[in-house]
């Protein structure tokens, strides 16, 4: 066992490092740009030099890189302070769906501009009545000539307000069984008939939106997959979640709470000397190191050209509750001051308070803890799906609390 790159990997890493250190935008270069402009500036620079979406085929704007090269790229890029990406959903989920289901002409039109960051994409799946149970969605599409007319509502759409395009799953046949009455489209987010309302979160931020459709017209040519095949297409999107390995998790982690415990007094001694504090920190340390080394195991498989095992499926289920618990514990260490959330008065400019308030979202977004546990039980351990009350009956006859 060793942690070293292969000769080829080392060469690639050097190339990446050299390009990054010459090209990561400096502060003066980005002076006066807002976060969207900064993100687009950086993405375009990568694209122009052939470093955007490196795993994509060359004709779509990538460089045909291997999975391990993507991991190396992620690791090296994360060492720099680069603008926060707004392309994760577009590159990680929309693009693979387009590659699998769109026409050649559409791929040629949309993928390079997605890679270059000139066009931003979002994903319109969840609905007020369909989150974990996504296929329960109710937004309707009805055929009218060569167009579809769409009415309904989506929710939790990240970046809807700055997106140019979006992928959308809708119900085209309510009389069919739940999963069989769906179809999949991509839409122009600037079309008439779309209204976007930001959702204010408990953390105070607004990362998500509600998106309302009233008589939105979408050409049939923007349908991906057959009529009624929407669920299958949606699965392509959902299976292509961004490779979670590589990169580094910032924010509240072992290091930040360990440093806090060294600094804070408890009964006149540094809190780190308290055995309870040590025990808790040790438990979180082994979760973090366990995730890190699970990542190394996956990288080893990728490096050999093999498909990684399921060890990385635990990442979000371990990481998200850990963030919440660690933030809460840090606030305990701060005693009464833990109750202040004021940049002028809080330790670390309120990092622990902000994480405490943001962390419930981490346990829900992209699959709740409960759904993640189901996925592990079903896909990794091979346990049966839960019995479903909605199986084999038309969508319209499925019991629901209320129907709009």
């Amino acid at each position: 066992m060793d942690f070293n790159d292969s000769h080829q990997e080392a060469k690639f890493r050097e190339e990446v490092k050299a390009w990054l250190s010459d090209n990561v935008p400096s502060d003066p270069e980005m002076d006066g740009l807002d976060y969207l402009e900064k993100a687009k500036f950086w993405q375009k620079r990568k694209y122009d030099a052939g470093w955007a979406c490196i795993r994509w085929p060359v004709e779509h704007g990538g460089r045909n890189a291997s999975p391990i090269e993507q991991v190396i790229w992620n690791q090296e890029e994360s060492r720099f302070d680069t603008p926060e990406s707004i392309f994760v959903i577009g590159h990680g989920m929309c693009a693979p769906t387009m590659m699998a289901w769109a026409s050649d002409e559409q791929k040629k039109r949309y993928l390079p501009k997605l890679a270059s960051g000139e066009e931003v994409w979002c994903q319109l799946f969840s609905e007020p009545a369909g989150g974990s149970d996504l296929a329960a969605l109710r937004t309707r599409a009805e055929k009218d000539g060569d167009d579809w007319v769409i009415n309904g509502q989506k929710i939790w759409t990240s970046g809807a307000h700055y997106s140019d395009y979006g992928v959308l799953v809708v119900r085209t046949d309510p009389s069919a069984q739940k999963h069989q009455g769906l179809s999949y489209f991509f839409i122009d987010m600037k079309s008439a008939g779309i209204e976007i309302k930001p959702i204010k979160q408990i953390s105070g931020g607004s990362n998500f939106n509600e998106v309302y459709f009233s008589n939105l017209r979408v050409p049939d040519s923007q349908r991906l997959g057959g009529i009624g095949q929407g669920w299958q297409v949606a699965l392509t999107t959902l299976m292509n979640e961004r490779a979670a390995i590589g990169g580094g998790g910032g924010g509240v982690n072992f290091d930040s709470v360990f440093e806090l415990a060294r600094k804070i007094d408890r009964n006149g001694r540094p809190a780190i000397e308290d055995s309870q504090v040590r025990a808790k920190l040790a438990n979180w340390y082994v979760q973090e190191s366990g995730l890190k080394f699970a990542g190394y195991r996956s990288m080893t498989a990728l490096s050999k050209g093999e498909i990684p095992g399921p060890e990385n499926s635990i990442g979000k289920l371990v990481g998200a509750p850990k963030q919440q618990d660690m933030a809460s514990f840090a606030l305990d260490l701060l005693e009464a001051s833990g109750s202040i959330w004021d940049e002028n008065f809080s330790d670390s400019s309120g990092l622990f308070q902000a994480t405490f308030m943001a962390s419930p979202g981490g346990r829900i977004a992209g699959g709740t803890d409960e759904i993640m546990a189901n996925i592990i039980a079903e896909r990794v351990l091979g346990m049966p799906q839960d019995m479903r009350a909605d199986k084999g009956i038309p969508f319209t006859e499925i019991p629901a609390a209320h129907k709009s």
Binding site: F3, A279, V286, G290, A373, N374, M383
Partner: protein, 371 residues
Amino acid sequence: MNFEFSEEQQLLREQAQSFLADNCSTKRVRETFESESPYDRDLWQKVVDLGWTAASIPEKYQGLELSYLNLCVIAEELGRSLAPIPFSSSVYLATESLILFGTEEQKSYFLPRLASGEVIGCFASDEAQRASSLGGPKTTFSDGRISGEKIPVADGSIADFAIVLAKKGDLDSSAFIVDLNSPEVERIPVKSIDPSRDQAKLVFHEVPAEELGNKVSGNMILKAIYDRAAILFAWEQVGGSETALHMAKDYAMDRFAFGRPIASFQAIKHKLANMYVKNTLARSNCYYGAWAISTNSKEIATAAAAARLSSIQAFYFSSKENIQTHGGMGFTWEFDCQIPYRRARLLASNIGSEAIWQDKLISSIEETRAA
């Protein structure tokens, strides 16, 4: 990045699994468990014949001098099969003590005999409720003789010799080699929470003893040996923990309630998913440990504590929730759920508890960052 066992080691794993499936079924473990015999002699002999007791011993002393990664593989498979043999005492503790600290003469005498299975060793550090890593031993060494009591000593009724921690007069402690067949040694069998593994009380009445190595402090020996052993124990614990998960899954798939397999209930799925999560974290930390022990890394203290701590937690969780998944049947003597549950508890008590390793982990991180 190559963070994986080699093909040769994977082959060893397959051989070990097939050998243990034939020779160490749960039924077989239960025979030792329910008998008066302190270990499975037949299985032990076969393990010796396979060369596993010689794995880490240098060729110079008639060992196989394999990588410690091979020993990690063996440890995991012995843990998975819940093997009722004194492997951890003799190999991870006694053999390692001699390899690391023994004089040339001691190594030449003991290591070939440990390799060939002619002798079994054990490690006697604990004295009743006094954790071995806290304070010094009460057992004393003077004028070439040891007096005192050690309890519990894992495999103390089986072993031919023990590495005993004792205080040298008013000075520091050290480790001593004691022939357990001496008339001055009283061996009192002690009932164990895991009856498939032996525990004893050893009373030394001025028994002749020889210091291990050349004036090495007992604390240094204890730390070095426990750090290395912790990684190997952790692999056994991960193996055992996977057994508990598989027992729970097999039962949940076959057991029907309310007209469906209980494996289809989320309460059961989430329980088992949690076992998988804890096992995966523990296994990944064990990989770190395997890397550290096989490369003699400076990070071994951190790696050992991380592997040990997460494996204690995983095995405890899986073994108790395995009983819970079985419902009332899991609480019966007849079902095998008690075997991993007892083993998890035994291994968690050997070589320092969860609390001690939590503290050691933070201490080693503090030391690394101060450096």
